[in-house]
């Protein structure tokens, strides 16, 4: 047990790592917020104004982007959960085959997002192998437009493919904390497979479920790279629009507004999911 010393030295030692992060993240967030109000403009004049905010909220294209990104966030987090949860349950009890399966599943973790995007693009392109296979099996007549499609399915597919192992890891550790005794007790008292799933596994794994959903949503919501290569031409993701507004249109103030919106949405979703946590574990 460490002695409980409140020492200035300890805080000083924290400074290099924590301080570095606070400095750089802090300054960028600070500039984002202030620029959205027209202050601290690096180039051009500085003056407090709400103009930028008004402009964005009246700008249909920006609103479309926001909605699109919300959609991507929601679908990606739900999609990865739907795939990863059953697998996590299946892998909960060990076995040699399952350990091999687990290491296979982890592979996309080691693959960078851009590469993952490209790998999947290869498969789901208009004349790609997925379409060819579906046509050969007579499931569809014409190839599906899964890439750069208006809805954004290409992006969702890539996000799901890349992030299943990430969600799986979090869920696995959550499920591992559920004692076997607890599950046995439930089965002993008459709980069938569904009852065990919804009354024991899901409520007790809820912390992990929510953490992974939050992180997944934030990633997919704020995504730039994947959406810009595999997403629809219109609407762009909010991050893409933000960047274009900044570097192409040179409207940094308006871009800052979009940036703040992204940050606020991130915080809001985190708050929302944790409220959801209390609701779910309370009622069940």
């Amino acid at each position: 047990m460490e002695r409980k010393e409140i020492s200035v030295l300890h805080y000083l030692l924290l400074l290099p790592g924590v301080g570095f992060i606070v400095l750089f993240i802090g300054s960028s967030i600070f500039i984002t917020i202030t620029q959205s109000f027209g202050l601290f403009s690096i180039t051009g004049k500085s003056q407090f104004t709400m103009e930028n905010w008004k402009a964005i909220f009246h700008d249909k294209e920006s609103l479309d982007s926001i909605l699109f990104s919300l959609k991507m966030g929601l679908l990606s987090s739900i999609g990865t959960l739907l795939f990863a949860f059953p697998v996590a349950l299946f892998l909960r009890k060990g076995g040699a085959g399952k350990r091999f399966l687990a290491s296979l599943i982890k592979i996309p973790l080691f693959i960078p997002a851009l590469v993952a995007a490209f790998l999947i693009i290869n498969l789901i392109s208009y004349h790609g192998i997925v379409n060819e296979a579906l046509i050969a099996l007579h499931i569809i007549k014409k190839p599906l437009r899964m890439l750069n499609d208006k809805f954004g399915w290409g992006v969702v597919a890539i996000q799901v493919w890349k992030n299943i192992p990430f969600v799986l890891l979090i869920l696995s550790s959550s499920l591992a904390s559920i004692r076997d005794d607890t599950v046995d007790a439930a089965r002993n008292l008459g709980a069938g497979t569904f009852a065990v799933l919804f009354r024991i596994y899901v409520p007790l794994a809820m912390p992990g479920i929510l953490v992974s959903m939050i992180l997944m949503f934030i990633k997919a919501f704020g995504d730039f790279a994947i959406t810009s290569v595999a997403g629809p031409t219109y609407p762009p993701s909010i991050a893409l629009r933000m960047r274009n507004t900044a570097t192409l249109f040179q409207e940094w103030d308006k871009a800052a507004v979009l940036g703040v919106i992204i940050i606020l949405t991130t915080l809001f979703i985190t708050w929302l999911y944790s409220r959801l946590a209390e609701f779910v574990t309370g009622s069940k």
Binding site: E2, K4, I6, H10, L13, L14, P16, G17, F20, I21, F24, I25, S27, S28, I29, I31, T32, Q35, I42, V87, G97, F100, L101, L104, K106, L109, F110, I111, P112, A113, L114, V115, A117, L119, I120, I121, N122, L123, H127, I129, W161, F166, L169, I170, S172, S173, F221, G222, F224, A225, A239, L240, R243, A246, T247, W252, A255, A256, G259, I262
Partner: protein, 293 residues
């Protein structure tokens, strides 16, 4: 003897064979999932490898199921006629510096977070995760403004700082776990035998966190190699790294064959390094650091 065997077979009760059938079903299911997973993960990689080996003089297009001819032509082309070598140099130069800086900054922080109780510890641990949680493009865009104000934009130092920022969370978390794992008894024994601070650091702490250190360095390294958002905004067009070059091949310049080569160049060292960490060190450092994003 034979009659005994036959008699035994006929007497296998229904519940024993039912149990056996249940077990074989479980094995079948696992095998099925393994095969599915091999396709799920293997097919994309396989297709990309295939695309990278398409002979430049025999383009592979619909309706061919497989390319007509394979050769190393694309690889030669990419290395000769694109900036890939420059990008490789840049990437693999920035990374070691970023890792080194990450290490230096992380060590004291991880020591406190791993071995000391201070008020607000949880708060600080959350701050450490900020680079991972905060939306990447927002930070990239507006940090570039800050960098511009300080003349760090489009500079090597700026890129190293940016890559360090993204690697710190992993390095700190892994080192924190390593520090936590050192039993207090060993420190006490060392002090009892007369060790001063310098000796403690050199002979106890550093050697004992070495496995974690190795893992953290690999994570910080691969994070730097893969880093895109910050590099793209702060570095281009002066600097090109492997991710930014890949991105350029995925945009308006979409040449599938070039992109395949670059994707493999980016992916293979990564997988090798991370797999090595996971297996050689025989512990789940990967999972401990919440996975790579």
């Amino acid at each position: 003897m034979a009659e005994l065997a036959i008699a035994k077979k006929q007497k296998t009760p229904w519940y024993v064979s039912q149990a056996r059938r249940k077990r074989s079903f479980a094995i079948l299911l696992t095998t099925f999932f393994i095969v599915m997973q091999i396709v799920w993960v293997g097919l994309p990689i396989f297709m990309t490898v295939l695309w990278s080996l398409v002979d430049p003089n025999h383009p592979w297009s619909y309706p061919n199921i497989l390319p007509e001819k394979l050769s190393w032509g694309q690889w030669v082309y990419v290395f000769k006629y694109t900036n890939i070598i420059r990008a490789l140099k840049t990437s693999y130069t920035i990374a070691p510096f970023a890792v080194l800086l990450s290490f230096i900054l992380s060590l004291p922080t991880a020591y406190v977070l791993g071995r000391k109780q201070i008020p607000g510890k949880k708060f600080f641990q959350t701050i450490v995760l900020l680079p991972i949680i905060m939306p990447g493009m927002v930070v990239a865009l507006f940090l570039s403004r800050v960098f511009t104000a300080f003349g760090l934009a489009q500079s090597f130092i700026g890129l190293v700082l940016a890559h360090t920022l993204m690697g710190l969370p992993y390095m700190i978390r892994v080192l924190t776990t390593s520090f936590e794992a050192i039993p207090q008894d060993i420190i006490d024994a060392a002090e009892n035998l007369g060790a001063n601070t310098f000796t403690k650091i050199k002979d106890i702490f550093l050697p004992m966190v070495r496995p974690g250190l190795l893992a953290g360095m690999v994570f910080a390294f691969t994070t730097s190699i893969e880093e895109f958002n910050l590099t793209f905004i702060i570095g281009t067009p002066t600097f090109e790294t492997i991710p930014t070059i890949l991105y350029s091949f995925l945009g308006y310049n979409f040449i599938r064959t070039n992109a395949s080569v670059v994707a493999l160049i980016m992916m293979i060292p990564n997988i090798v390094m991370l797999f090595a960490v996971e297996n050689i060190l025989k512990s789940d450092y990967l999972s401990a650091s919440l996975g790579k994003l």
